[in-house]
């Protein structure tokens, strides 16, 4: 990952990551799946996980 992209990604909020994931889900599986409660739950947890990994995991081999 380039330093610029990494910095940008790490500054993302969980809500914006969730919005991007939701758009991808809708594109792949349709509107009805996006509103399935289980999918909604997974989206929240996944977005929080992605954000946390980006924000807290400082890879020692990263050029940053």
């Amino acid at each position: 990952m380039s330093p610029d992209y990494s910095r940008q990604a790490a500054s993302l909020s969980s809500a914006s990551v969730e919005k991007q994931l939701a758009a991808d889900i809708e594109r792949l599986f349709g509107h009805s799946r996006l509103h399935d409660p289980a999918v909604q739950g997974q989206l929240k947890v996944t977005a929080a996980g992605i954000t946390r990994v980006l924000a807290e995991y400082l890879d020692p081999e990263d050029p940053l």
Partner: protein
């Protein structure tokens, strides 16, 4: 020997009696099948039972003992169950997935082949959650029907807890062996990643899938390792006899903070009891924030489960249960860089966890297995405290450690460095000797008396 006494035997002990012809394989397999008849439906523990085949195998096992130069295996003639995501030759392996109801593997999974080679007699396939994920199965907690049996190896845990078999195979990708063990009052063990082959498992995550085992005593776990290990197992000094030196344990404080007040107090009491017996207990942490560990674990499972299920999902979407379907769908849109970061975090988590053990010269880390007693049947329970050791590939074991105020089993978890499986068992054995036996449960009116909650059944 009476039927109930036969069914209280551990697998190792039963095999010894069979070898000495003090009991027969036919007797114990017949007894197991009768109990399955009595309890199978009540407990929902079985997906498939192969009575005729099992009895034929038991008869053959008895006949073999009269054959000149025959050397019986470590589990000769002993009945066992296999979680229904692990392939069994000529026996359906359906993973609780309707399109797989007629799926009949032609070969045994490597671990099943190993147990059969040791003489064990397969009596059936135990209930699993769908593809070993988080949608609850039909297995019922024998301690309280209003509580979950856990998951995903719920049928195996229930079958062992109710004396239907002395040993059953499970799998663990997050907490699927140790958590149901804790909720049902039995022992659950997950070896070092890769020590037991996963060839022949229906995968959930190629990176994190482990084979596990559920038993009622530690000796049977040791026998399982001896029989099923796919590579030489590192022995410990204690392997030549019981551990007499009290262990050094690392009480993982952030794990306590995840637990409810009752479980927190219970684990503190256990630590005090271990110290009173001579153990040294020091306070440690996970080496990384638990939330970060859990995020990495979930991302790996999501992406790999999505990969496993992508094609099946296209054809059979409506046959998927909600949580697995959602996982397989959302996993397809996780960015690749997040998956790679999660894999790298996995290595870092293992280094940090093992670093805690090395820094404090510990024999094992100590946590609650789960932060609460078994919750309601709408969930399989919380995997948060089992996940870190699965992510790190470290061996871990759950022992029944007491009862909650509601009379439900609680579990204590120990984890050791990768490769120290035998040392972990010796530590667990020492600790088990310092635990109060679990009394028989009260108020389980649906269950026949005297079949569950036998005192000291986990020794």
């Amino acid at each position: 020997m009476r039927r109930d006494a036969l069914l209280e035997l551990g697998a190792t002990e039963a095999a010894a009696l069979i070898r000495r012809r003090q009991i027969s394989s036919t007797e114990i397999v017949q007894a197991a099948l009768e109990r399955v008849d009595d309890l199978g439906e009540l407990t929902g523990a079985w997906a498939t039972v192969i009575s005729e085949f099992a009895l034929a195998e038991a008869n053959r096992a008895d006949a073999d003992l009269w054959t000149r130069d025959f050397t019986p295996g470590r589990l000769h003639g002993v009945p066992f169950g296999v979680k229904d995501v692990i392939d069994t030759a000529n026996v359906p392996t359906a993973a609780a997935f309707t399109p797989f109801r007629n799926r009949v593997p032609v070969e045994d999974a490597a671990v099943v082949a190993a147990l059969k080679k040791a003489g064990a007699v397969l009596i059936g396939k135990t209930t699993t959650t769908q593809f070993a994920f988080a949608d609850p199965s039909s297995a019922r907690n024998p301690w309280a029907r209003s509580r979950t049996a856990g998951g995903s190896s719920s049928g195996s845990a229930v079958a062992v807890a109710t004396g239907q078999v002395p040993l059953a195979l499970g799998t663990q990708t997050g907490g699927s062996t140790l958590r149901p063990a804790a909720f049902n009052g039995v022992i659950g063990f997950k070896p070092t990643l890769g020590l037991v082959s996963t060839v022949g498992l229906l995968p959930l995550s190629w990176t994190l899938d482990h084979v596990g085992v559920l038993t009622r005593n530690i000796e049977d776990v040791r026998t399982f390792i001896d029989v099923a290990a796919a590579r030489p197992v590192k022995q410990s000094a204690a392997a030549i006899g019981p551990q007499i030196v009290p262990p050094r344990l690392g009480l993982v404080v952030p794990a306590l903070e995840e637990a409810c007040e009752e479980v927190r107090a219970h684990i503190r009491d256990l630590a005090n009891a271990f110290m009173a017996g001579g153990a040294i207990v020091v306070e440690v942490d996970f080496g990384l924030p638990l939330g970060l560990i859990l995020a990495a674990q979930r991302l790996i499972v999501q992406v790999e489960a999505a990969t496993v299920h992508r094609r099946l999902l296209e054809r059979h979407a409506s046959d998927y249960l909600p949580l697995l379907r959602a996982c397989a769908e959302v996993g397809q849109v996780v960015p690749a860089h997040s998956y790679v970061d999660a894999l790298r975090l996995r290595r870092l988590a293992a280094d940090r966890l093992e670093g805690q053990i090395a820094r404090h010269q510990l024999d094992a880390l100590l946590t609650p297995t789960v932060g609460s007693e078994a919750p309601g049947p709408e969930t399989t329970g919380d995997p948060s405290l089992q996940n870190p050791f699965t992510l790190a590939g470290m061996p871990s074991i759950s022992l029944p450690s007491g009862l909650s105020r509601n009379g439900l089993p609680l579990g204590v978890q120990f984890a050791a460095r990768c490769g120290d499986d035998i040392q972990l068992l010796e530590t667990a054995r020492w600790c088990a000797d310092h635990l109060e036996p679990i009394p028989a449960p009260a108020g389980i009116s649906e269950s026949p008396a005297g079949i569950i909650g036998r005192a000291n059944h986990f020794r």
